[in-house]
């Protein structure tokens, strides 16, 4: 019986307690009561009943007996009393189904069936082989172990959960699933049965149980045959070329999971048009890589495809969404555009529009402006770089110096990052008056000559003209302008990376100096994902397909996690582990469930007691008595007839 795991003695004790309670309530109920009535005359006229001397005398023994019988029957029904032999205490088994992505592979010659179909079939066979009263917890295992049922004795519910199990998108983490099963049996409180793993045993190399705890002694392994040849894409990474920002450098890797060498073509397409192809030679269990370059500033969909047929087509194709190259529109107000043109046209991320000083507008259609050598009528409404402005411009002049040497760069600020040149000699420069909140980027002995103002709109003021002096041949000059533009519009110059991979754990190298608070990992739905940052390696986990964006300082990476994660290694159970579906338990003579009939009988007995002895049902009782009248009349008629 499964009655709160009580033994028969405990059920009897419970029954005794309930019976005692019923008797006490009965005696209390039948105890003498004071009742106010309209008259006593008819009691006096009727036969005078004898007063009782013992209060505890049972006045309606049949009522009490019926109540006790009814409660006993109901208790036995709740206890699921069965008639027939049965085994001892049932076992609690944990059934781990492999629902990793590999279970979506198709076995050749199986008529299109997936491996998960075999897993389900084996699971059903195992459940049917168990003794009837054993309980089973179903656990679905991929990268995470997820219980589908509690310890359940209903075979219908277990089979329904088995039928609803489907292949996931991540690789199997068997060690975690086994540990989960062990803990479930430990805290379940029942008698631990087997831990059964049904699957192909293909696991991620990092998740092999051999390196962790030993396999549990009660483990049973039911292998699903998977002689499937498969080669698939492992990873694709794209990043802007440092030398040519309008060019994507593409890296693709593929792996052969089979046992036969394979040569397969890899094609790359962008926006539906082919942009490259390679022939990959994949040794058994080995990987091959290919690199491509794609010159484009437009947005579009990049597709990489292995052109072949195998048993697992889900990892033969990956698509990535590439963002457009962002540009910074710069309005350049200068009387000498030829001097600045080489500086501004070297970077495709800049789009310069040259205009004369008399065409000046405070807010042109641009993202930033350069004001070269004149003082505009109205201050700019955009971020601006001022080159050698006259006195009375954005900053006042302290003095003008000749042949001054630059002695100090503010390398700690992004505007001075990488600038350390001390051999700049400025033929003529204005020493600027910097406020307390202004940033001194470069200084001479006489004072600052490059000053930046962080308040919007931002401004960078150069007290000299680097483009029309020998400084234009210095390497530091384009670096200075690059720093200035990056500081004014950091979003445009952010380093972009796009990668395609599989769901599960993702690792990404960052600068070691990147503080964790500058990192943000967000799923495409907007939800942030937890991550760790250790020794410059960012690690996070995504169990669902989708796009995850990582933002870290001036770097932005987009991970398109659409490839299924396929385990590279095959788990082999240690010796001694039981294998295969066990033979069906010895068939017990069919036990007959008595509890429905007991419940019915208990309810019936209590109903009869209520009809016969209940207080509030005098009308019902009269009805019953009226129903019995013909029977009584018939009995009396038969008596009279026999007497006559």
């Amino acid at each position: 019986m499964f009655f709160l795991n009580l033994s028969a003695a405990e059920v009897l004790a419970l029954l005794s307690g309930a019976s005692a309670l019923v008797v006490a309530l009965y005696l209390f109920d039948r105890a003498r009561r004071k009742i106010r009535v309209a008259t006593l005359r008819f009691w006096v006229e009727a036969r005078q009943p004898a007063p009782a001397h013992r209060r505890t005398r049972i006045q309606q023994p049949w009522s009490l007996l019926l109540q006790l019988i009814g409660i006993a029957l109901l208790l036995l029904a709740i206890g699921q009393l069965q008639f027939g032999p049965r085994a001892g205490t049932p076992f609690d088994h944990v059934l781990i189904l492999d629902t990793s992505s590999w279970m979506a592979a198709r076995q050749p010659g199986s008529g299109g069936g997936q491996l998960i179909d075999q897993v389900r079939e084996q699971a059903r066979a195992y459940v049917r082989a168990l003794p009837r009263y054993d309980r089973v917890m179903l656990v679905r295992a991929d990268a995470l172990a997820t219980p589908a049922t509690a310890f359940e004795s209903s075979r219908a519910r277990i089979e329904a959960a088995i039928a609803q199990s489907a292949a996931g998108v991540s690789a199997l983490n068997l060690q975690q699933a086994l540990e989960f099963a062990r803990q479930a049996q430990r805290v379940g409180g029942g008698r631990a049965g087997e831990i059964v793993f049904i699957g192909a045993g293909r696991i991620a190399a990092s998740a092999s149980p051999g390196g962790g705890d030993p396999a549990p002694p009660n483990l049973r392994f039911i292998r699903v045959a998977d002689r499937i040849e498969n080669a698939g894409l492992r990873r694709i990474e794209l990043k802007r070329s440092p030398s040519a920002p309008d060019t994507w450098e593409i890296y693709v890797s593929a792996r052969n999971y089979g046992v036969r060498p394979r040569t397969t073509p890899l094609t790359l397409g962008f926006g539906g048009a082919p942009v490259g192809s390679r022939q990959l030679t994949l040794p058994p269990g080995g990987e091959a890589e290919a690199t491509f370059t794609l010159r484009t500033t437009a947005a579009g969909v990049l597709e990489a495809r292995l052109v072949h047929r195998d048993g697992f087509p889900l990892d033969d194709r990956v698509t990535l969404e590439l963002p457009a190259q962002r540009r910074l529109r710069v309005a350049v107000y200068t009387a000498d555009p030829a001097a600045l043109r080489p500086l501004l046209e070297a970077d495709p991320r800049l789009s310069a529009a040259f205009r004369r000083p008399d065409q000046y507008e405070p807010q042109p259609e641009a993202d930033a402006m350069i004001v070269d050598g004149f003082r505009p009528k109205a201050p700019p409404a955009l971020d601006a770089i001022w080159i050698n402005p006259p006195d009375g411009g954005p900053l006042a002049f302290r003095q003008r110096v000749q042949n001054a040497r630059l002695v100090r760069w503010n390398s700690a600020h992004p505007l001075g990052a990488g600038l350390r040149s001390k051999d700049w000699i400025l033929a003529s420069a204005a020493v600027l008056v910097a406020g307390s909140e202004d940033i001194r980027v470069a200084e001479t002995e006489a004072g600052p000559v490059i000053v930046a103002r962080a308040a919007r709109p931002r401004a960078v003021v150069l007290g000299f003209d680097p483009a029309r002096s020998p400084l234009r041949f210095e390497l530091a000059t384009p670096l200075l302008f690059a720093n200035a533009f990056r500081w004014l519009a950091p979003g445009v110059f952010r380093r972009e990376e796009v990668s395609g991979g599989s769901v599960g754990t993702v690792r990404m190298a960052l600068d070691r100096a990147t503080p964790p608070e500058a990192v943000r990992v967000a799923h495409e739905g907007g939800a942030t994902l937890p991550f760790t940052l250790q020794d410059g390696v960012l690690t996070f986990f995504s169990g669902t397909r989708g796009t995850v964006s990582v933002s870290a300082g001036d770097r932005e990476a987009t991970h398109s996690l659409t490839l299924p994660e396929v385990g590279e290694a095959r788990w082999e159970p240690p010796p001694g582990v039981r294998r295969g579906v066990p033979p069906a338990a010895a068939p017990l003579p069919a036990a007959f469930d008595l509890w429905p009939w007991l419940a019915l009988a208990g309810g019936l007995v209590l109903w009869v007691e209520w009809l016969r002895y209940g207080r509030q049902n005098a009308g019902v009782r009269r009805g019953i008595n009226a129903g019995w009248k013909p029977v009584r009349w018939l009995a009396a008629w038969r008596t009279r007839r026999s007497e006559s």
């Binding site: 039948r30 105890a31 003498r32 009561r33 004071k34 009742i35 106010r36 009535v37 309209a38 008259t39 006593l40 005359r41 008819f42 009691w43 006229e45 009727a46 036969r47 005078q48 009943p49 004898a50 007063p51 009782a52 209060r55 006045q59 309606q60 002895y613 207080r615 509030q616 005098a618 009308g619 009269r622």
Partner: protein, 294 residues
């Protein structure tokens, strides 16, 4: 329960089709709706008689005189207004063991009162216990019903039942005979048969409505009981079983039958009403079949 209206509007609308009827002929003011066997100034022709000195010449049958040369007088059937009195038991037994019975009695009295008011009868609501209480006279149409309801709602059940005292007082207070409806449980320790007989002998037409609660007729209790009389406070300790209950019910039914015999012997009517019966069923069923209302 006391705050609920005694009768709802739909029920009152149905009551408007009823009329209170009596069987005896009573003298009274002309203008009622029940025919009397007395001759008088009515509309319906009753008989002829010889003319006597002093008779109203307007009633002489002049056609008969021309033919027979004798004076005959036409007699007409009178339709008098007869006082309808309603004796309502307000003793403590009416509220025992539950107040439903007294509530039901007041609702029944209100319904009869409304029927009478609609037909322009004059109704006297006369409560009694061990004597007559303060009466309430209502007449003149349905708009006088609200005060009657307020009066009935304000009644309380208390005191012992004293039919003899009450009847004596009644006979001395009301000399004019009429229809007398008694709504009571008729549970008087001293017996109520004799006083009721007095009323009948005095010439009143009796309508006895015996009310009982289910517990009054078929007590559901079993086992050891301390029974307390609601009126006298007398206490009896009994061991009650099925046989005792059966005999109790039998004694009750015998008493009810004796009341019925008394009423019928006196030319009146009797109706036994269980307080759990719908009032509508009593008004349109029991009382209608008994000819109290039609």
């Amino acid at each position: 329960m006391a705050t609920a209206p005694l009768l709802d509007r739909q029920f009152l609308e149905r009551l408007e089709r009823l009329t209170i009827h009596w069987h005896k002929s009573f003298p009274g003011l002309v203008g009622g709706h029940n025919r009397s066997q007395f001759a008088g100034g009515g509309q319906e022709f009753l008989d002829h008689r010889h003319f006597h000195h002093g008779d109203d010449l307007r009633a002489v049958n002049w056609r008969a005189y021309l033919r027979l040369e004798k004076l005959f007088l036409k007699m007409f059937q009178v339709e008098p207004r007869v006082p309808v009195r309603l004796l309502l038991d307000v003793s403590a037994s009416m509220a025992a063991p539950r107040p439903d019975k007294f509530w039901y009695a007041r609702r029944l009295a209100a319904a009869l009162c409304y029927v009478g008011l609609v037909r322009l009868d004059t109704i006297v609501l006369q409560p009694f216990a061990d004597g007559l209480g303060e009466r309430f006279l209502c007449g003149g149409g349905r708009h006088r019903f609200s005060p009657a309801v307020a009066y009935l709602t304000g009644l309380e059940a208390r005191g012992r039942t004293g039919f003899l005292l009450s009847v004596r007082e009644f006979l001395s207070r009301y000399s004019q005979r009429g229809l007398l409806m008694v709504i009571s449980d008729f549970l008087d320790e001293d017996g109520c048969e004799k006083p009721l007989q007095y009323l009948a002998d005095f010439g009143h037409e009796l309508v006895l409505v015996q009310l009982w609660a289910e517990e009054d007729r078929s007590p559901p209790w079993a086992g050891e009981l301390d029974l307390v009389d609601a009126e006298t406070g007398q206490q009896v300790r009994l061991q009650v079983d099925d046989a005792a209950r059966r005999e109790y019910t039998q004694a009750f039914d015998t008493y009810a039958a004796s009341l019925q015999r008394l009423a019928e012997r006196a030319g009146g009517r009797y109706l036994g009403v269980a307080a759990d019966r719908p009032l509508e069923e009593v008004m349109f069923g029991g009382l209608s079949r008994a000819g109290v209302v039609e």
